[in-house]
């Protein structure tokens, strides 16, 4: 990736479209978006006001696409965007934005701020102002195959473990299976329960499924850093795998951004509609539940609450399913304030958790999650995103809160009666 300011500006000029022009022309500087952003609410620093994070993009829009802006640029009234400025904005565009989209849903004039941050990142990465941590994750995904450097043998080793422990086959590269199951490296390394859970659930539902040896990693660091060319390379792997195996549906794992990358950006990245369906695992479980294919026994009796991953709920429209699933296996499920559509981010989405130098700010922002948890005092916290899970665990540990975090899919699977039911 050879990056330069010139390239960045060119990319930014390309991503500016009518919605962005309309949004910038509508902003009245009311500042309400700040109240929706946990990086502002927890620090009180106005520089974290979401619309301010877009200032260089706004100026570029004005200078390139408005008559008065072009005049201003010609006579030197409007200063050009510089490398120094973009470097200063790196913290605002990456460390302090998780693409959670809360700002977009409160803006009174209807500015889709997160839409603009996502596009601004294209120019930031093309001009060489993306954080090292995400650059590393992208490079590993492109060259090795996953952001955490996981290769196929690691997946195979885990498949073998699950097969031995549970006596259930883990299909690989099975042509014509109904579902192709994707994983996130986080699940391969830290949460092997996920794969076992899928095996149990699919077995009970009587569905055919498979993993794909050339496309097992679902996460897309290319999208997080804001490089559509790289994001396209990663999505293409999955599309090729799914089309080769002729599956009907590809299941995005418990990972928020993987879902957004595949479900909503994927077809746009490759430039044509998919020939298969994409569903988040929670959507699949919801469908199984509705169709009577998911049967559980027994209940969790401790107090549980659910953390909605932003990309699944607010950005992805999946809100009811996880609640129905929780109620299926939990006697004492309580909601945090603002749960569901308006839930607060864990603080580490959108690639932010990969930024080492952003950790202090991330932990500061976690005070929002802490206050939500303090309001209900759960015994355990359930979620449906491996990245949220890691970030939540780090935050909870930092604030010395003894609340274990579990994945919803594995919790459901624990209540599936043993084989031979």
């Amino acid at each position: 990736m050879s990056a330069s300011l010139e390239k960045g500006v060119r990319v930014l000029k390309e991503v500016i479209d009518a919605p962005i022009a309309s949004y910038f022309s509508s902003c009245v500087h009311c500042g309400l978006c700040a109240e929706a952003c946990l990086f502002y609410t927890e620090t009180g620093d106005p520089k974290y006001t979401p619309i301010h994070k877009l200032e260089p993009l706004r100026r570029l829009y004005e200078q390139e696409y408005t008559l008065l802006g072009r005049l201003g640029k010609m006579v030197g009234l409007s200063k050009p965007v510089t490398d120094d400025e973009l470097e200063e904005w790196k913290e605002l565009v990456y460390n302090s934005c998780t693409l959670c989209g809360r700002c977009s849903v409160v803006c009174p004039v209807g500015n889709d701020i997160v839409y603009m941050v996502r596009k601004f990142r294209e120019g930031m990465s093309a001009s060489g102002h993306a954080p090292e941590g995400i650059i590393g994750a992208v490079n590993r995904t492109i060259t090795i195959g996953s952001p955490m450097g996981v290769k196929l043998p690691a997946v195979k080793a885990q498949m073998k473990h699950v097969e031995e422990d549970h006596g259930l086959p883990i299909p690989l590269d099975v042509e014509g299976a109904e579902y192709m199951v994707m994983l996130s490296s986080m699940e391969i390394i830290n949460f092997p329960e996920y794969l076992a859970a899928i095996a149990k659930i699919m077995h009970q539902a009587g569905k055919t499924w498979t993993l794909c040896s050339t496309a097992f990693e679902a996460t897309n660091a290319g999208m997080q850093i804001g490089n559509s060319d790289l994001a396209k390379v990663l999505v293409t792997r999955i599309v090729d795998g799914a089309e080769k195996l002729k599956v009907k549906t590809v299941i995005s794992p418990e990972c928020g951004h993987a879902y957004t990358a595949l479900r909503w950006e994927g077809a746009n990245l490759i430039g044509r509609p998919f020939t298969f369906k994409v569903q988040h695992i929670i959507e699949v479980l919801g469908e199984f539940q509705e169709n009577g294919l998911l049967k559980t026994e027994g209940f969790e009796v401790d107090k549980l609450t659910f953390h909605d991953p932003c990309q699944l709920a607010r950005r992805g429209g999946v809100i009811k399913q996880q609640r129905n699933l929780m109620n299926m296996v939990a006697k004492n499920f309580v909601e945090m304030p603002d749960a569901g559509f308006m839930n607060w981010c864990c603080g580490g989405g959108g690639g932010a958790s990969a930024i080492e130098e952003g950790e202090e700010l991330r932990l500061e922002a976690f005070k929002k999650k802490k206050s939500q948890l303090d309001a209900v005092k759960p015994d355990r916290l359930v979620t449906a995103c491996a990245n949220c899970r890691i970030v939540l665990e780090e935050g909870l540990e930092h604030y010395q809160m003894d609340i274990p975090v579990v994945g919803l899919t594995e919790m459901i699977a624990e209540h599936i009666p043993k084989q031979g039911d």
């Binding site: 919605p19 022009a21 309309s22 500042g31 408005t66 009174p108 509609p273 429209g317």
Partner: protein, 219 residues
């Protein structure tokens, strides 16, 4: 130029010039913005009732849950001065007469005492939101020359109009001329400043509603 000549100018040539710049400016800005277009969304859509551009145009007029408590001055002050402006601009009988003379359209107005009251409330609300902008760290941080300038552009017509009707400070003819001049300045600058949100707010809300509606999310 004496008072009467000044009044004649702002009512004649001045008004023509301002209205022309306003109309051409609005058309140009709308073209400049919306001709940029956008790419078709190729992701398979999810259809959910209430998730569309049109729904969002209306839905965004109300504060999302919990937001009123976070910034009551912005919401209450904002509602009062927007609705107040609409009432005094479009429901004051002399304004309707002017619009009728320009376009032929006319509708019933409200009693002038009521308009007086609305004008005073609107002026008060605008002063309050100005203080809020000075007082709140986020608003102060975001504010540029344009924010103070456009506040003044929007405020002067209300103040001068009210003062003209009340016969305050200056002779009626002079104050009326100043009132018309301030409206002309507002018209001239509206298309090229943040005041243009009066037009683009509908496009912006429609876009965000449409883009998220494609995903089945009602924003």
């Amino acid at each position: 130029m004496n008072e009467m000549q000044f009044l004649t100018w702002v009512r004649g040539q001045g008004l023509d010039l301002a209205v022309s710049i306003f109309l051409l400016g609005v058309l140009w800005r709308i073209f400049e913005i919306y001709s940029l277009g956008r790419k078709k969304d190729l992701a398979a859509p999810r259809h959910v009732a209430g998730a569309s551009g049109w729904h969002t145009i209306f839905r965004r007029s109300l504060p999302p849950e919990g937001m009123m408590k976070k910034s009551p001055v912005t919401y209450v002050g904002g509602y009062i001065f927007h609705i107040g402006l609409a009432i005094v601009v479009f429901l004051f009988a002399p304004h309707i007469k002017l619009i009728q003379s320009l376009t032929g359209l006319s509708w019933p107005g409200l009693p002038s005492q009521f308009i007086d009251l609305v004008a005073v409330v609107t002026i008060a609300a605008m002063v309050v939101v100005l203080f809020d902008r000075i007082n709140k760290p986020v608003k102060r941080y975001l504010s540029t020359f344009e924010d103070w300038f456009t506040w003044t552009l929007a405020f002067l017509p209300v103040l001068t109009g009210w003062m003209a009707v009340q016969h305050l400070l200056l002779p009626y003819a002079t104050m009326l001329a100043l009132h018309i001049l301030s409206v002309e300045l507002l018209l001239v600058f509206l298309p090229f400043t943040k005041l243009f949100h009066a037009f683009t707010v509908f496009g912006s809300r429609w876009y965000i509603g449409k883009i998220n509606g494609h995903k089945g999310v009602a924003v």
